[in-house]
Assembly symmetry: D2
Homo-oligomer: 190 residues x 4
């Protein structure tokens, strides 16, 4: 059975909400096992991330979806610490041919989220992974992909409470990405 | 007297409106000469751009501001044809130390405009130019930088008439970039 | 039977050599139909590309591999004219779920080829395509991926004759990308 | 007197060597004060960087040059932790109009160093800083800019001892960037 994992960092809880939506989309696909994994600051010592349980789950995954707020024009340092900790996997080629995708949250509509998604893509390419983007037209009548992201999901949240932002359509956009990734995981596992 | 040139391509006229605003901002700075230059499709033969008058003006400029709609995730081919035609300037180092900046228009809030601005930056760096970004906080109460661009100006326009989009605050954002670039042109010419 | 198309622009012939290698790699996979398509400057009028035969072939392809030299920090204008001409396909979602990949040639080892590959990726994401990178470790003993590209293939060629540059290992790297894309085309067509 | 600061992270010592070269270039310009500041992992707790002395120095600088190895396709997490800690400066606009530049080291010629430089640029643009690139032609006879970077300095170092890599010409390239940035600091301070 194909496994899809969502691994993300959230500082204020907004990215957690989006991660849950992406995870829910993946879990809605029949015959798919899923993991929802938060990057915990406690696992980062002097800028280096260690957590064997997390890597055991990711190694056993067919698809890994990366998530982070956009902080100062890129992924949060906590996410980057996780990414740097994948160096051993890179060297051994262990994540080659896994599926990758990504999502990011920031307070303004554009707000350099594209830069964060580009980084996720670059990380995935270092690993020889296959990248699956959103695949939804922008600014649909129902609000899906209202911000016009393509490489992955972009959602907006500032100082609002986490039950308000990201809003329902941003979360629905996240759900669609999770579903799409899971469908590809099924297809490539056949 | 320092000279600031705005060079842009516009397909539907929306980028022309933004270019005019950027140009107006530059022209508002005392002691600055300005040029507003449209890239004309007629000057492109088999994908190659030729126009000696345009290059005479740009060669004599202290700052060059690049503008284009974002088409299929990057600058319009017409702009790229212009950029490719600067190869001789690159080889001779003729644009080294000029100031550069940029703006882009697309129909959705984010819509890969960041990719177009990144390209403008990369082009400027090939030439050894100095990059001046927007320098305005995002989502200001008056609408300035409402989309959250930093590397340059992002404006939104779809199928609306050109007197409606880009809207007044997007044009004001453009004006601020033009002004900022002109101020740097003055500073560096001293 | 899955079809893999290589579509590229070449100014000096070096990119043609790399395109042929990528195409050969794809054609080496059993049960795959291939096309090798050059973008012709004659098909570009005022910066706009038109060629119905080319689009008929691409529409019928399961995978499309993009190729261009890196000119002034990005894809050649001729390639961009082709990319802009895919706007109708984008609007209709016709290329959604096709596989995409890319390669670029420039005269220095790094030389902003990464920027061109990023653009190819951004274009593919606009279309909702699936991106397959190189998946080879850098600087292998046999010269494969000697420049350290991951998102796609990077090759080096300056003023040398086209039978000298790109060199044999850069072409072998291209071949491996073509093969990998074709294998994914087979897998996803099952 | 204008102040130029070099702030960098180094894991294996190779980036330290390049940082020293960049610093030396800046210090060679008459009438310029300089700082060479290493990011220390001990200052990072749970992924967050704190060091008031470092920020006191940077706040008082006219130019800040960013340096990091390229780890997994982007700046080291330790550098990103520093970058995230500048959020308060961003909010207050304290670094607006400072000069920015950057350098990166990785083991292969290209090796996604462009991605790290793009991130440095994006960070600088969030702050409203002015970006100064390398401004040197690629692959010069004396080895300057042998890798073909433009946005900043690219240097190569793998497992070699730090007295061997980065090599003399990569360090000379770094020196030229430091000098160029310092010259702009003088010009803009006049």
């Amino acid at each position: 059975m194909p496994t899809v994992s969502v691994i993300y960092f959230s500082g204020s809880g907004h990215t957690t909400k989006l991660a849950e939506a992406v995870h829910q989309g993946a879990a809605s696909v029949a015959g798919v096992k899923t993991n929802l994994i938060a990057i915990n600051g406690d696992d980062i010592v002097k800028g280096r991330y260690h957590n064997d349980d997390v890597f055991t789950k990711l190694d056993a995954s067919d698809a890994i979806i990366f998530g982070s707020p956009t902080y100062m024009g890129g992924p949060a340092a906590q996410f980057k610490a996780f990414a740097d900790a994948t160096g051993g996997k890179w060297y051994a080629g262990e994540w080659r041919d896994k599926i990758a995708a990504g999502f990011s949250v920031s307070s303004s509509p554009s707000g350099d989220k594209f830069s964060t998604l580009q980084y996720f893509f670059t990380l995935a390419m270092q690993h020889g992974m296959i990248w699956v983007g959103l695949g939804e037209m922008p600014m649909q009548a129902n609000g899906i992909n209202r911000l016009g992201g393509f490489s992955g999901v972009m959602a907006q949240a500032g100082q609002e409470p986490t039950d308000v932002a990201p809003n329902a359509t941003d979360k629905l956009t996240g759900e669609l990405l999770g579903k799409r990734v899971a469908q590809y995981a099924v297809k490539l596992k056949r």
